[in-house]
């Protein structure tokens, strides 16, 4: 037996009460809880019982992103939970919500940077932390975006382990994962638990797989009190009925029977079936440097037919393309072969206008929050019916009854964006079914539901089928798959081998500051260019330098599409040059000389950016801005994190547009009002989602010591190389030409 480190991780919660502003009732009421060092605790309770809130209180972050009234105290080993950064580690429910960097190594090192660990010491700690969660085989340069959901959750765990926490908190870490990924995460948590010396608190709905990993079970009631607490088996045995009454998935209990929904609540228009022969969906990824790569994102191997009254499920591991196939069935994505998906014999969903699409099918997307199109729950349910012209008393009555079945009636007047994730998903189901579409395409309709709400959702799906509707669901839920008439298994299409590495252009060897500075040099060069004859010379110099920058000496295949990339980026600039020249000609005395001068000036300003900006890398830009220019660390890190996620914003924008379309709310260029409404709604939706993401990330970052990171160190150095000097010097050349060649 080895000598163990002094026990740490003693958590004492006393009299903790929390009421967020704007709520009448507290979420947590006088919670008293003592966790001994090394204890492993499972925390359960019905939806909305304040489990996540209690976890945040344990990190000391309650109130940091939400305002409210807090009384009572939380201490970890006698001190406040935030006394030492990283004392309390937190893993969030949504994979990726806490990812801060583009590469695995950098992400794990985030906490180490915040506490100012010297760079040389980082790789060891990072490798150890990754090995502890079973990710030791990953290259430190692996992009975080290439990880599966399970790997991403384990990455988050490794990130907290790097700071050697005394307490590790996991907030439904497997709720959004497929069974294989969930098992990987549990294995990593199990290894952590065996290692001892750390207190562990897990929040979960589905208890079965966790009961062997934990020793103690704490149950919170719907009104935020601790109602049961003790050894896990004893509590399960003694409180079984209470737990089942709360809707908790108690191990060994058979799945609940679907709720019997009154007839007439669900209608489904008689319509020809939605059918598709085997098809594939290709996805083209465009990289910042302008190159694009097309890979098969999803593949349907057998013909699919959503016939009236049937439930078809798509099953397969996360990332195998189930969501993509559903989106293609709804007509949002092009298929190979073209127009594979048909409604009836000859109608292609993609060709339908918004109301006709809504009449043909409904869609509940994976992120239910993005289909929200109104600001009142009742309106949300009615939106599609209204778009289709059904706004009568009978429809309203059915809307209320649908909400009642799903346990949302008391929220009918609330703003749907303020609901919890599980509530939003149920709302999306109600909103999809009210107008009686013949086909419902549902992406994970049961995620995050307790036994009661699960039974309600299943009951509605059954009622929809009984009324003659069809359901196609992508799901990990074995209890749903077990009820299906047809099961389609999807596997991730094999990735084609990566293309052989290409030669890198000279410009790729330059750092971000030199790229930015040289792009900026286009501005004085343009402003100082006098007559068009000189300006032409300046442009010629820039073209020669641009060709040099993009030259890629050496052996091997050349980098693809260099000219096309520059051309595409130059296009808006050339457009601006032409219109500016024209307006100058018009307003400044119809002088062709001056007009040409001004137009060329714009070209001089824009050209360097078109060549250089594609090579800017957000992470490296952050490194250099903070380390070389001495800009304040925290804003720089936040900006780099935001830049990292820009591509997800584009995806959100697209998804909002799809949701509106399938809800029957169309956009037509002939009706400017619909265009304005669409832009406004998309922008607002994007902003709301963005703010949520920022708040989540703030919690994850603070749990890793970001709040107190005044003197950070950096995972990656920010060297200024000779190539940078060369680039800036050459970049000055057009300016010199502009000033001297007159």
């Amino acid at each position: 037996m080895t000598v163990t480190a002094p026990a740490r991780g003693r958590v004492e919660v006393s009299g903790l009460t929390w009421r967020p502003y704007g709520r009448r009732e507290p979420v947590l009421r006088a919670v008293d809880l003592t966790l001994t060092p090394g204890e492993r605790v499972l925390l359960v309770g019905p939806s909305g019982s304040g489990k996540s809130t209690l976890l945040r209180a344990l990190t000391g972050l309650l109130g940091s992103v939400e305002a409210g009234e807090l009384t009572g105290s939380v201490t970890v080993d006698g001190a406040g939970p935030g006394a030492r950064p990283g004392t309390v580690g937190l893993v969030l429910q949504e994979p990726g919500a806490g990812v801060v960097a583009a590469t695995v190594g950098r992400d794990v090192a985030f906490g180490l940077e915040n506490v100012g660990l010297p760079r040389e010491a980082m790789p060891d700690v990072v490798r150890r932390s990754l090995a502890a969660v079973g990710l030791g085989g990953l290259d430190l340069d692996t992009p975080t975006s290439a990880l599966s959901g399970g790997q991403t959750q384990r990455l988050a765990l490794a990130g907290t382990l790097a700071l050697d926490p005394s307490v590790v908190l996991l907030d439904e870490p497997t709720a959004m994962l497929d069974p294989t990924c969930a098992a990987e995460v549990r294995a990593a948590v199990g290894a952590l638990a065996r290692d001892g010396g750390r207190t562990l608190v897990v929040v979960e709905h589905v208890l079965g797989p966790w009961t062997d990993l934990v020793g103690r079970l704490v149950v919170l009631s719907a009104d935020g009190r601790v109602v049961a607490d003790g050894p896990v088996r004893e509590v399960l045995a003694a409180e079984r009925e209470v737990l089942l009454g709360m809707g908790i998935w108690v191990p060994g209990a058979p799945p609940p029977e679907p709720l019997v929904v009154p007839p007439g609540l669900c209608t489904a228009a008689r319509a020809p079936a939605l059918t598709a022969p085997p098809f594939g969906v290709d996805r083209t990824t465009r990289h910042l440097d302008g190159t694009a790569r097309t890979v098969r994102a999803a593949q349907l191997d057998d013909p699919l037919a959503a016939r009236p009254g049937t439930l078809t499920t798509l099953v397969g591991p996360s990332g195998s393309g189930k969501s993509t196939l559903l989106a293609a069935l709804a007509g949002f994505l092009p298929t190979t072969p073209e127009a594979a998906v048909r409604v009836g014999d000859d109608t292609v969903p993609a060709d339908l206008d918004a109301p006709d699409l809504a009449r043909a099918l409904a869609w509940v997307p994976q992120w239910a929050s993005s289909t929200i199109v109104t600001d009142r729950v009742l309106d949300e349910v009615l939106a599609t019916s209204r778009a289709l012209g059904h706004d009568d008393a009978a429809t309203h009555d059915r809307a209320h009854r649908l909400l009642a079945v799903l346990g949302l009636e008391h929220l009918a007047e609330a703003d749907p964006r303020e609901l919890s994730g599980g509530e939003q998903r149920r709302l999306a189901v109600a909103a999809a079914l009210l107008h009686g579409p013949p086909v419902l395409l549902a992406d994970e309709p049961t995620v995050g539901q307790d036994r009661h709400t699960w039974a309600a959702v299943l009951g509605l799906l059954d009622a929809h089928r009984a009324a003659g509707g069809a359901v196609v669901a992508a799901t990990h839920d074995a209890n749903v798959v077990g009820r299906a008439d047809v099961v389609h298994r999807t596997d991730a299409p094999p990735r084609p081998p990566d293309p052989p590495p290409t030669r890198t252009p000279l410009v790729a060897r330059c750092g971000p500051l030199a790229l930015l500075a040289t792009a900026f040099l286009g501005i004085p060069a343009g402003v100082l260019s006098p007559h068009w004859s000189t300006t032409l010379l300046v442009v010629a110099t820039q073209v020669v330098l641009g060709a040099l920058a993009l030259a890629a000496p050496g052996d091997g295949p050349g980098p693809p599409h260099r000219l096309r990339t520059v051309g595409l980026r130059l296009l808006p600039g050339l457009f601006a040059a032409a219109t500016t020249a024209w307006s100058t000609w018009l307003l400044a005395g119809h002088d062709l000389d001056i007009a040409c001068t001004v137009g060329l000036r714009v070209v001089v300003i824009v050209l360097p950016s078109a060549v250089l900006v594609p090579w800017l890398d957000p992470d490296r830009l952050g490194d250099h801005l903070a380390q070389r220019l001495g800009l304040p660390d925290r804003p720089v890190v936040a900006t780099a994190a935001a830049l990292q996620r820009v591509h997800t914003f584009g995806a959100v924008w697209t998804e909002i547009g799809r949701a509106r379309r399938v809800r029957g709310i169309g956009v037509s260029a002939r009706h400017p009002r619909t265009v304005a409404a669409h832009l406004a709604a998309s922008t607002m939706g994007l902003l709301v989602r963005t703010l949520r993401a920022a708040a989540e990330l703030a919690v994850a970052m603070d749990a890793r010591g970001f709040a107190t990171a005044q003197r950070r160190t950096w995972w990656a150095p920010a060297p200024w190389r000779w190539g940078d000097t060369a680039l800036v010097l050459l970049g000055l050349l057009p300016l010199v030409v502009a000033v001297t060649a007159r």
Partner: protein, 235 residues
């Protein structure tokens, strides 16, 4: 004829709720929110750019200074950033991130868009600074929108004087300038007027509306606008 007398109560003066003290004590959620808002606006800028091309072309063919009427949306980020977080630097930070993000996929202005973002953000920041970071109502928003424009206008229309031609070194500047340097003063001033008007309406007032809508959606509960909304409902 009966006379009725009504006691007229003046409406209570509506003061804005300021950020928690110290004003420069940025919380992580403040920093991330401004950065993310900026990035989201950057994406929106880029999407709006597609719609912007239409009026731009039409107006450039007609009377180009009217183009100023369409600059407002590009100034939104700074004003919204300032209205949400209410700390010194928020407006500038938000607008610069938005400009940076819209620069990366390539715009009609190249790296100039980042420079413009700094100028516009500085203008909005100036407005909130003048008000001591204490007022964030619709008038403050309108002022921030209006002040976002002059520096940008100077950059786009500035022209170095011809008289510099005789001065050594400065001679190379003489007669040169920005995009619209060659316009006559009347057109340049018309352009400034259009920009300011657009700044007031499409950046200032619209930013105020957007902020209120975000607060109504429950997305600003950690920020002063969220608190204002809660207090206005808790009668």
């Amino acid at each position: 004829m009966a006379t009725t007398s009504t006691t007229y109560e003046p409406p209570p003066t509506r003061r804005s709720i300021t950020a928690t003290r110290p004003l420069m004590g940025w919380r992580t959620v403040d920093i991330l929110t401004v950065a993310f808002l900026g990035a989201a606006f950057g994406v929106a800028f880029w999407a709006w750019g597609i719609f912007y091309n239409g009026p731009v072309t039409a107006l450039q063919i007609g009377y180009a200074p009217l183009l100023g009427l369409f600059v407002g949306p590009w100034l939104l980020a700074g004003v919204v950033g300032g209205l949400v977080v209410r700390r010194p630097g928020a407006a500038l930070f938000c607008e610069v991130v938005a400009a940076l993000v819209s620069m990366i996929p390539g715009t009609a202005w190249g790296a100039g868009v980042l420079f413009a973002g700094i100028l516009q953000g500085l203008g909005a920041e100036l407005a909130f600074a003048i008000l001591g970071y204490r007022f964030f109502g619709v008038a403050a928003a309108a002022l921030a929108g209006a002040l976002s424009t002059p520096l940008e206008w100077l950059y786009e229309t500035g022209r170095f004087p011809d008289s510099w031609a005789s001065i050594p070194v400065l001679s190379s500047f003489a007669g040169n300038g920005g995009y619209y340097a060659e316009w006559v003063w009347r057109d340049k001033l018309a352009y400034l007027g259009c920009m300011a008007l657009s700044g007031i309406v499409l950046a200032g007032v619209l930013a105020w509306v957007v902020t209120r809508a975000l607060a109504a959606a429950g997305a600003l509960s950690a920020f002063p606008p969220g608190q204002e909304r809660r207090e206005s409902r808790a009668v």
